[in-house]
């Protein structure tokens, strides 16, 4: 594998006396697609959210694209480069789709409106929503909103994208349109870390699957190795319940 994009060492996270992450070491290479699976409450979302400091680690270091995360000063620098897609989309409801896409590039990167809008329109085309530029989020279906959210993250031209259960809040018939967009991104070489229950996506697109349980990475490997020949009993029992 090529250069390191995200390197996590000895990551621990506690809420009061509850330890959610109990020592995670993880290196993610550039252009790698890593899928994180595991039961709810296992800490997989927390692990993802630590990668752009939405959750502050209790212990351990996180280095993203050569920048060590350690406080307000450089968090925004890293967040510029690492986009995030949420389960509940979190689009800005008071803005049109186009405004959603140009806000951060203009305010954070200082790009002028014309350039930002051109990029935004191009990205909307890519997610198949060119005709929705002037719509408001609440006029769109869940699948469309999530595709806008992906385009919004891409508008910052990030080096990596984090997905926090991106299809969990969607009606079944809308899941495919979102996964298709994600597959295309993966094929284009985007570095992606995806927390999901979509095992089909994991097998087809993932370079590596991590099984997280009890705040630790219990097992990891190529998708087929995990899905067909898991070594750990916990992994097998989890997979047997969801496959």
């Amino acid at each position: 594998m090529s250069t390191e994009m995200i390197k996590i060492t000895g990551l621990k996270k506690s809420y009061g006396s509850l330890e959610v992450l109990k020592g995670i070491d993880l290196t993610i290479a550039e252009k790698e697609v890593v899928v994180i699976i595991g039961p709810s409450g296992s800490g997989k979302s927390t692990l993802l959210r630590c990668m752009n400091y939405l959750e502050e680690p209790t212990e351990g270091t996180i280095v993203v694209d050569g920048i060590k995360l350690d406080g307000e000063a450089n968090i925004n620098e890293v967040r510029k480069e690492v986009g995030m897609v949420f389960q509940r989309f979190n689009l800005f409801p008071h803005m049109t789709v186009l405004e959603n896409l140009v806000l951060a590039p203009m305010k954070v990167r200082g790009i002028d409106r014309k350039t930002a809008e051109a990029t935004a329109m191009e990205l909307l085309g890519k997610v198949g929503l060119s005709d929705k530029a002037d719509s408001y989020p609440d006029q769109l279906s869940g699948g469309q909103q999530q595709r806008v959210a992906i385009a919004r993250a891409l508008a910052m031209k990030p080096k990596a994208l984090l997905f926090d259960e991106p299809t969990s809040a969607l009606d079944p018939e809308m899941i495919k349109e979102v996964l298709d967009v994600m597959k295309r991104l993966a094929n284009e070489g985007m570095t992606m870390v995806v927390v999901t229950h979509e095992m089909g996506f994991a097998r087809e697109v993932g370079d590596r699957v991590l099984f997280v349980d009890g705040g630790k990475i219990l097992e990891q490997g190529k998708p087929d190795d995990i899905f067909l020949h898991a070594k750990e009993e916990r992994t097998r029992s989890f997979l047997s319940k969801i496959l």
Binding site: K80, G83, L91, H94, L103
Partner: protein
């Protein structure tokens, strides 16, 4: 008992001028209150403890004491400390702004807290600072939700500003008192004063309703 309409007619110009001053104090107080309230409301949500405690103390103190006492504190007590008389207009605006600020702080706090946590996370995850996210994402949404309670606060202040009459400041209520001192027509004049307050509060309520509908359709 019959009404002397001639008396009311004569008093109307003076009372209307007083009503103008009432509107002026209210608008200024709520205006400054809005500024104070926005800052204090955000401070009440701050993660830095001393900031939060100071903001809480301010809100608790103002909401826990009568406006009349606050007016006395500013007009009578403050001069003994600074050794200088305070102009009634300044004292009135000062007391009412500080009072209004505390109530508006609560309105802002509730408005900000009603916005989904995911909005701040989305803004921050795009690399925007806390301030940028507040300014462009949270506040515009919060503003829409706080228009009705802000309208109520304006109406409450419109009525409560009558209390500044006690420091001799000549707004609507004080004008009424002065005219009665001259004419002894309590019933006519207080009735006229009440009707003028009613017209003002009713109009403001309707305007707020209009604004609310305007914002709903984006």
């Amino acid at each position: 008992m019959e009404l002397n309409f001639k008396l009311i007619e004569d008093a109307i110009p003076l009372l209307l001028a007083g009503a103008g001053i009432t509107l002026e104090i209210t608008a200024m107080s709520v205006g400054f209150g809005l500024l104070i309230g926005m800052i204090i409301g955000v401070a009440r949500l701050a993660s830095i403890k001393p900031v939060r405690y100071a903001a809480n103390f301010y809100v608790d103190f103002i909401r826990g004491t009568p406006l009349l006492v606050q007016i006395f504190l500013v007009y009578f007590a403050l001069p003994t400390i600074i050794g200088q008389r305070i102009d009634p207009f300044f004292a009135a605006i000062c007391a009412c702004s500080i009072n209004s600020g505390a109530y508006i702080a609560e309105i802002f706090r509730a408005g900000i807290q009603s916005i989904d946590k995911g909005q701040m996370e989305a803004g921050r995850s795009l690399g925007m600072t806390w301030y940028q996210t507040m300014r462009y994402v949270i506040m515009p949404q919060a503003f829409k939700r706080i228009i009705p309670p802000l309208g109520n606060e304006f109406i409450a202040m419109l009525k409560d500003s009558s209390l500044v009459s006690v420091i001799g400041f000549e707004e609507l209520t004080r004008r009424g008192q002065l005219i009665i001192a001259r004419t002894y027509a309590s019933f006519e004049i207080w009735l006229a004063v009440a009707v003028i307050y009613l017209i003002m509060t009713f109009t403001v309520a309707r305007l707020v309703g209009l604004m609310e509908r305007r914002f709903e359709t984006k």
